[in-house]
Every structure is written in structure tokens, then in C-alpha cells.
Symmetry: C2
């Protein structure tokens, strides 16, 4: 980014940029006080909090063309613009933009950093107004419904009574389901992708490994690393490496890397990155720590673990959607073993039992869980069709 | 073990016991000098080395009833006796014992700790005779063929010209395949279970995460922790936690733990072990570090990563088994995603192409990769049938 060749300097510059984003994001930001305090599931109240977000396109006169994108675990609001820390392109340029399925020439697109995140919405990396210090573990543990409540406040603030569409994959899909369940009148159409209505035991297990890796790093310092001017980079990198494996399929790893060696002719009988997959994973780990806060990682993984939409209905998921008028388009991917199709089917069965309008597609893909972020023509075509059909039903005019 | 209630004291007692086993094991041990130097794939030569092993049953007069069991990654030679460190029962009591499929009333059963291990066979936790210090990372990186070479030396020393059976699961199965490929005349029958002829990209990836977790722990100290009287317990525990998930199936995790809470009525909005799966994984991690050496973990995972039986034959696995007279029984488990059935099928296809005698069973099981260690009646019945049939063919008399 800076043109320097000293990796330490680059790291520091990235980390400084990231820390700046936590409090004063480059994106739009709304700050709320006691008159719009955020009541959390844990019982705590945030009476000074902020939400950072991006918008693309123009809100129409009757405010009926708003699309809310909910981002995944380590995503952020920078859906369709250059990232302020990494300088990488927007993470969902394939889905969002002029002429794309979420057409910014037709729709007013909103994406907000999640509560507990580290890109400008209040989270453990933010300043605690009560102490003037970074929250760290003093930040209350937040849930997916809490994240959605913060988005509801933003949408209200923007004067939007009903979102035309709420869409997201993975943890974003959990938010979509929560929106539809708890705020049904505010959601005309919903697209939960590669997600589930509750986090599975295996997924909790992988998250717990990641958290333990972070907390095992002595530089974590009980979450107070920020004040020491350090961060648990090694632990967070290990967490990311483990998680990254779960985002890909065995087949895609095999096709992309197989047992190919990294810049060498033969194995070296040592512990360097002999294999390309090792080199790739190490890069994933080390580049992640520059753009993400370790405590935030603990909080957002915990929010996913806690998600169980049926729990408040005695385990009957259909009751969460009783009487819904929202139209749903559910998608899963054949090679996704983190949120396998069976979890989407549970959602679809519940929606059917609730008498909802729902279409479901299991898309044949080798890309594993990450497929929703990638160029999957079938996913993009289905999204386009569903969105255009819903737009006609909403009176948003014919497809351009 | 000691009756004390101070967990630190217990840990220390276990760790001391483990360190003692590395050099002076409670089991039988053979020590070899320059006259039986071990030539390693990396080019190094071990001219003072030892192999620790257990035997059960009696070797018959013509030494034709010997069964070699090859253990898995973190297993050891204590197949059918109380473990000298953990005091737990033998790890394969279901398969081995009087009247069991590997009947110790009929067969002479041998199991040796692998080269690079930490229970008495030479490895990174052993004393380097050249320096008088623990090897640590000065130990040469060993391979599956190296492990098998050490076992060949032992079997030769015992005066056994041909093993009646070589059997093992996972990394043990890799050794079985290597025995059959490189020492075909010494193997009458072979049972590779839940294994493959090469380590997949995904499996290398999980191993690399584990190694990085160990090496990220500052107590690892470049592998020289032993001299400081410490060990990288936190890093090794994280490595074990990640690995343990891969040994189970999603279904078995769901059935065993689901989203059930640990000793509490509701989630606590914190980072304690709210869920049973978290508590279970943490226990798996912390109990593992008492019985296993962190450097050994690096070495044995690396040996598995390097395994690729077809590589020396231009990628044609069938050539590895050309002309074999060994009879094979290959087994896989439906829910094993670490060594899925497709990897066993590759082995079976190669054996068929080589004209070998081979039977193959994919066993329906919910237990994932660990199924080979558990009470899987179909596996035990198939093993019994194959072993009895092979025993008749070997002239070992009728089934008792």
C-alpha cells in the first residue's frame, strides 16, 4: 500500500489504519445516544453507540427500493468499494453494482459493519465512553438479534419503513433469517445464502478452537493488548488458518493445491512451507491479522455460536416465521460442509410449514462455503431472477 | 494417578512419567548400534537408536503367527495393556486379546512406538548421543517408510521372516501400505483401515494449522523447551483441539453434544465453556499435552504429510504393488471425512490393477475417522473373518 518494502512498516501502517477505522471509519457513520439506546440480549444497554455503513445507489421517493446486505463473520461494509485498510476491491462486486443482480442503478444498497465488529460499528475495539479506554472484554457479548437491532435503528434513521430486500451469506444469512423472524413487516424479500437457523456443534467446535488459539497467545493479555500497543497476531493467524480450511471444500483444495510444492523441486525434510497449501494458509493467517481485531473475532464467533432461532419457540422453527408475508429465496451449495444443504432444508421446511412463499436452490459448486463470495453463475442468475420478480411485485418497475 | 488433588502436581507427575518413557520405556525396548544403523529418506543415518514395543501372546515354533499392529498419529505401543502414563486401558482392546479378532491365544502380537514418537522409540524427545542433549529439532525429519524400516529391523531381530498380518488405521494404515509396497515378501496379509496412499491437501492443511499452533506458543522456544523445563502446552492443546474435530463426524458431534449446555441452564454471554462441545474439546486438548511431546507432534504430522506411495512410481500407485502376493482387506467408514472412502477406493483400484487379492468394505458408521478405534461390530466381524481365512491359508490351523 505504501510502497515501502519493510514488512514490519507495512504491518504497522495497516494496523494503524485498522485501529483508526474502529472509531472514525472512512465510511458513513451514525452515532446514537440515550434516546436510541441499544437494548442487548444479555441485558446490557449501549446508550452511546455508532454504526458504520456504506450506501450505493439512490433511495427512491417512497423509500421502497432499499436493499440491506448483511456481511459475514470477517466481512465488513465495503461491499462495492476499495477497502480502506487493505486497498482490495469490494467483497461482493460480483453481486452488487450497475447491471449486477443487486443493481445499484435501481436499488439503494446499504451495508453496515456488524455490532461487535471492528470497522466502525461499536465493538470491543471501540472506546468505552464510561472509561475512555478501549472496551476489550468489557464490551458486552452481543448476539445476531443484537446486530439486527442495530441495523433496524439505522434503517429507521434513514426513514425506511420496509426494506425491499435483506440478503447475506453465512453469518449474513443468519442476520437475514433474524430480520425475517423478528421484523417481518420491515422485510419484503429475503435471501439467506449458505446459512442455517442455528450454529451446529461442529461449527461451535471450530470457533472454540479459534478463540482458544487467540486466548493462548500471551500477547492477547486478557484482551487488553491494545493498551500495550501489541496484538495477538500469532494466535489470531492460527485461528484464521483453521477457519479458512472450513471455508473451502476438499475438492477445491485438491484442485487448487493438491500436493504441489511451493517454489521447490522436492520436499526439504523440514517444517518450512514445502507444500503450496501450507504457504497459502500461512498467508491467509498473516494477512488477516492486519485487517481484523482479535477481540472482535471472539465476539463475532460467539454471536454465531449463540444463534438458534428456534430456541425461543420451544425448538419449533416454523413458529419463528408464523404469518410471514416475506418472500424467501434460500440457497445452499453442494460442497459447503460448514453450512451443508441440510441446514438450508431445515429453514425451507420451517418456511413451508409457516405457509411462506419460498424458493430453494442447492447449487452444484466445488467451492465449498466460500462459493457465495465467488463467481457462481447459477447463484448470480437465481439472485437476478428472484430480485427482478420481487421488484415487479413491489411495484419497482420492469427490469431495465 | 497419584491421589493428589492439586492439578499442577498431577500434570507434573504425568509429564515426568512421559519424559521418562521417552528414554527408558516401561515396555520392551531394543537398542541398535552402527551394525544396524537406520538409513533415513532424508539422507541422515541413525547409528544409535532404539525401538520400544509391546508383545502379547506367544510366537510359535516356525515364527509364522506374528501380527504387527501399526499405531496412528498419537497412538503408541500400548495396544492391550494399561498405559504407563495415563493409566488408561489399551487403545485397541476391542480388536486385540483372547478371543478377539486378533486373538492373543493364537497370534504373537507386536506393536512398536513409531520412529519420531515419544514413548520410547527414538524421536525428538530422545537424547542425541552426539550431544548428550535432547534432540529437539536436531532430530532428522522422518517418513512413513523410515518408520517401517525401524519396524523391519525389529522384526528381523525377533527372527521373524514373514509377518502373518500387518494391520493399522489412519497413519497406521499408511505404514501397512508401505510394508506391503516395500517389503512384500515379509507380509502375508495386510489390513489398511481408514487410510490412504497419500495425504490430501486438506489433511496437510489441518496438520499445518496444528504445527503453527505449537510453534506460535512462546514456550515452544524453537523446540528447545525441554531444557527450560517447560513445554508449549497451550499451543499443543489448540493443535489437538483442531485435530480432534477432524476425527469425528458432524453427525456424531451433533448426536453426542448438539447445542447442549455444560452444567448451566442458559448461555452466560461470555467466553467460558457454555456448550458441552467446548468443554469436551478443551478437555481433549489439555489431557493430550500430558501424554504427548510437542516436537514429536510436529514430526509425526510431517511424516503423514510427506506420505505419497505413488510418487516414486511416477504417480502410478498400482506399480507400488506390482507382483504382490499379499492378501489385502481394505476398510473405510462412511462418515470419515479425514480419510474418505474415495481414498480407500484408490488403493483398491491400484491393488486390482496389480492383480492382488483384495477385499474392500465401506462400513456404515456415524463415528467418523475414529470409528476404527471404536466398537464397530461390522469392522470387528470383517476383521475376524479375514484373519481366520488368512490363518487357514497360512496353515495356522482351524479357528479355535
Amino acid at each position: 500500500m505504501t510502497g515501502t518494502t519493510n514488512p514490519d512498516q507495512v504491518d504497522d501502517a495497516l494496523e494503524l489504519a485498522r485501529r483508526r477505522e474502529a472509531e472514525t471509519p472512512s465510511s458513513r457513520v451514525e452515532r446514537f445516544g440515550p434516546d436510541r439506546a441499544l437494548m442487548l440480549d444479555c441485558g446490557d444497554v449501549l446508550d452511546h453507540w455508532q454504526i458504520a455503513y456504506q450506501t450505493y445507489g439512490t433511495l427512491n421517493a417512497d423509500k421502497s427500493n432499499a436493499v440491506l446486505i448483511c456481511h459475514a463473520l470477517t466481512g465488513d461494509q465495503h461491499v462495492h468499494n476499495t477497502h480502506p485498510v487493505t486497498a482490495k476491491p469490494g467483497w461482493w462486486n460480483l453481486m452488487v453494482g450497475p447491471g449486477k443482480p443487486i443493481d445499484t442503478d435501481r436499488f439503494f444498497v446499504i451495508c453496515a459493519n456488524v455490532l461487535g465488529g471492528c470497522l466502525g460499528t461499536t465493538g470491543p475495539a471501540s472506546i468505552n465512553p464510561a472509561t475512555g479506554r478501549v472496551y476489550g472484554l468489557d464490551f458486552p457479548v452481543v448476539t445476531i438479534p443484537d446486530m439486527v437491532r442495530s441495523q433496524v435503528a439505522l434503517v429507521d434513521h434513514l426513514g425506511i419503513k420496509q426494506l425491499f430486500l435483506v440478503i447475506g451469506g453465512s453469518m449474513g444469512g443468519m442476520q437475514v433469517l433474524d430480520w425475517a423472524a423478528h421484523w417481518p413487516d420491515k422485510v419484503f424479500a429475503a435471501m439467506p445464502i449458505a446459512t442455517g437457523a442455528r450454529h451446529s456443534s461442529q461449527n461451535i467446535a471450530f470457533h472454540e478452537v479459534g478463540r482458544q488459539a487467540v486466548m493462548a497467545d500471551p500477547d492477547w493479555r486478557g484482551g487488553r493488548y491494545d493498551e500495550a500497543g501489541i496484538s495477538p497476531k500469532k494466535g489470531l493467524a492460527v485461528a484464521r488458518m483453521a477457519a479458512h480450511i472450513t471455508y473451502m471444500s476438499e475438492l477445491s483444495l485438491h484442485q487448487k493445491f493438491g500436493r504441489r510444492l511451493q517454489d521447490r523441486e522436492a520436499i526439504t525434510f523440514g517444517f518450512d512451507s514445502d507444500f503450496q497449501i501450507e504457504s497459502y494458509l500461512r498467508h491467509q493467517g498473516t494477512s488477516f491479522v492486519d485487517r481484523f481485531d482479535a477481540n472482535s473475532y471472539l465476539y463475532v464467533t460467539r454471536a454465531m455460536d449463540y444463534f438458534d432461532l428456534a430456541a425461543e419457540h420451544g425448538g419449533v422453527l416454523a413458529k419463528a416465521f408464523a404469518g410471514t408475508k416475506t418472500r424467501f429465496c434460500v440457497m445452499s451449495f453442494t460442497s459447503d460442509w460448514l453450512f451443508p444443504t441440510v441446514q438450508s432444508r431445515e429453514v425451507v421446511h420451517a418456511l413451508n410449514a409457516a405457509g411462506a412463499s419460498v424458493s430453494f436452490s442447492e447449487i452444484v459448486s466445488d467451492f465449498g462455503h466460500d462459493a457465495f463470495l465467488l463467481d457462481e453463475p447459477e447463484m448470480l442468475a437465481i439472485a437476478r431472477g428472484f430480485i427482478n420478480s420481487a421488484a415487479r411485485a413491489r411495484g419497482l418497475g420492469a427490469t431495465p
